[in-house]
Amino acid sequence: MQRLNIVITGHVDHGKSTLIGRLLADTDSLPQGKLESVKKMCENNARPFEYAFLLDALADEQKQGITIDSARVFFQSKKREYIIIDAPGHIEFLKNMISGASRAEAALLLIDAKEGVAENSKRHGMLLSLLGIKQVAIVVNKMDLVNFSEIAFNKLKIEYSEYLATLGIKSDIFIPISAREGVNLIEHSSSTPWYKGPTVLEILDSFKSVEEKENDDFRMPLQDVYKFTRDNDDRRIYAGTVTSGELNVGDEVVFYPSLKRSKVASIESFNTPVKTSVKESEAVGFTLQTQIYVRNGDVVARADQSAPKVSNRFEANLFWLGAKPLELDKPYKIKIGSAQSTIYLEEIKRVIDGDTLDRADEPSVGRHEAACVIFRVHDLLAMELFAENQKLGRFVIVDEFDIAGGGIITEVLEQYTNRRTKSSSVGNVLVDKASSSADFEEELFALLRKHFPHQFN
């Protein structure tokens, strides 16, 4: 059965858990007896039953009173299986919301009809757009508290659409619901005779799986090169996960940014019939006709197709989750595709926060803020614009040992040439050491090739 990862986000108390609980119950996706046992438990404790308790009972989180992580919940429609990533609405758990949402292929954004657009409604809208989730439906919940008023619904729709437009997001899917009463979740309700659009389940079933998209040129970030000598295995295998396109035995490949090239000799795999081609999303390995030295993190493309962009400067939209702010000219680590390098924040063009949107002239990007920035990278990197290739157009920033931010590339800028020769010595310069050891490896490899040519044929 087909599967889709969806995320449900929204401000705290806008009704996420109720919506999920209700979806589980109404699609018969709960474990046997769960609904009854939770109802019984409520009866025994003399408190009214709420659908939100179902999720809490499942996720074992009731004692906290708030969902603290993006717990995974499974449910089924007639069309396919859904994994709901329940993203916490509480600001303290924004990094959990983002962890969950970054795995999603589509999103429901919940807004409370009575309370209106809250700070986190804005923030989450912005983050979903930065994460590149294009399939978003806005679900206006608690319509029962505003007497299912079409006027109230339209007012909220206009207000939020205007906000989304400032972010460059066009979303025309707004659904009026009452999660508690089951209005417009699975079936249309007589409470909202004026609403003719899809129900929540209909809109979910209409979302496309990310895989269903058009063909692109071949790209594979080189994750590793293997040479296992055991049992006289003499294969030198170039391994990685194909992010787009297709590769066949005999194709000429080019590695970026090193520009080394060769032809594919074989596709390698374990416990499968012999393969002669691989395509998007497969975790693969291949051997080459000639032995070349390339580094992990290079991007492999086909010589007969377009090349990725190569530079050491780019403009990006970024969101920051680190405990310490993102500062100018301090070394951080970037991870993009399979590549890593040291990176410096060159310029903050503007800081965007949920409420005030644009703020210029900021010295740093603080926790939970988003910004439009320019980065400078220590090494040349192969990259893509996010709008053209999502997987190679997004990156994370590591501060000390933890991922502290993420972003998408909006423009690849002209290279700078005056390389910094010395970095300061905080924990983030690991990569510099790694690249100098890579230089050593390359020289060693050249020597080995010269003196032991039989090993490389």
């Binding site: 055991r230 295995d233 990685g240 999303s281 991870k335 040992f401 933890d402 993420g406």
Partner: protein, 292 residues
């Protein structure tokens, strides 16, 4: 690509990411179906090879067939097998069968044994696949990355796990302060003294595991099947605390039927594991201290 292809590709990506990021990497092999699938995925990721050691914690109360199966597969697949055990607790008789409560027994024979085997404090017993002999390793280097076969659908606290999840010096896990995980980028940098647990099977369900075992024809231990007495194990552990269930399923295909339309539809997998039920939320308490 079908859903098993997608799960397989993602797990392989994670295993390769772990292998290139952690200089001293190991995988936990409980002999159960999940970690055996993980072992199979390792061979997929590395084209037939298993490039890191497999750690098994032997409580001395494992069902005997488990040890036999473990040693046979280790020879067949040329595995670097590492076995850890709490010899002191066993010598002093500090176990459930001698009157200790279940959770304390789990802590001593599993959590403690695991912790001190991983960090190298206790001696490790190692199978040398080249010489085909068992050897003792004293003062082994700590493993900085440990691959574990937990799944998010197993139990509440496991659904909060990250794919790459940091543990501090005391092997403790704090679910609420974990750094974010974005797209396919995981936590591969770690402070000295900490280690990272890697969970390539987080997105798999019990059903996916059996579908994959059937598709790949993975040689799984026969305790999972009804071998004629109308009983089989659904989850494996120590014999004093793990009970078989009544079932006629004799192979992966029949287990899949049982899970999708038969008697185990909607019944929790670990229902035969006694330690989950002692007190409330105890598995999460155990996991905080390093239990798998």
């Amino acid at each position: 690509m079908d859903h098993l292809d997608r799960l397989e590709a993602q797990s392989i990506y994670i295993l390769r990411e772990a292998y290139r990021s952690f200089p001293n990497l190991a995988m936990l092999w409980s002999i159960g179906k999940d970690s055996t699938v993980l072992l199979w995925l390792t061979r997929k990721a590395f084209f037939g090879h298993v490039p890191y050691p497999l750690v098994h914690i032997d409580t001395a109360f494992k069902i005997p067939e488990m040890i036999k199966y473990r040693d046979e597969i280790a020879v067949q697949w040329d595995l670097n097998l590492v076995v850890g055990q709490n010899k002191e607790a066993l010598a002093k008789g500090e176990t459930f069968v001698n009157g200790l409560d279940r959770l304390s027994c789990c802590k001593k024979l599993k959590s403690d044994a695991l912790k001190y085997t991983l960090d190298g404090t206790w001696a490790r017993r190692k199978w040398n696949p080249y010489k085909k002999v068992w050897e003792d390793e004293l003062n082994g280097a700590p493993y900085t990355g440990v691959i574990v076969g937990v799944r998010a659908d197993e139990e509440g606290s496991r659904s909060k796990e990250r794919v790459f999840s940091a543990r501090d010096e005391k092997s403790e896990w704090d679910a609420s302060t974990q750094p974010p995980e974005l797209w396919n980028q995981y936590k591969t940098d770690f402070a000295p003294g900490t280690h990272v647990r890697i969970h390539p099977l987080l997105e798999w369900t019990e059903l996916n595991i059996w579908e994959y075992i059937e598709r790949e024809n993975i040689p799984i231990i026969s305790l999972y099947f009804n071998n004629g007495n109308g009983k089989r194990y659904r989850s494996l552990g120590c014999f004093p605390c793990t009970a078989p269930v009544d079932s006629e399923a004799r192979n992966p295909k029949e287990i899949i039927e049982e899970l999708t339309s038969g008697k185990f539809k909607d019944i929790a997998e670990r229902s035969g594991r006694a330690q989950d039920k002692d007190g409330g939320g105890t598995l999460e308490a155990l996991r905080k201290e390093g239990y798998m």
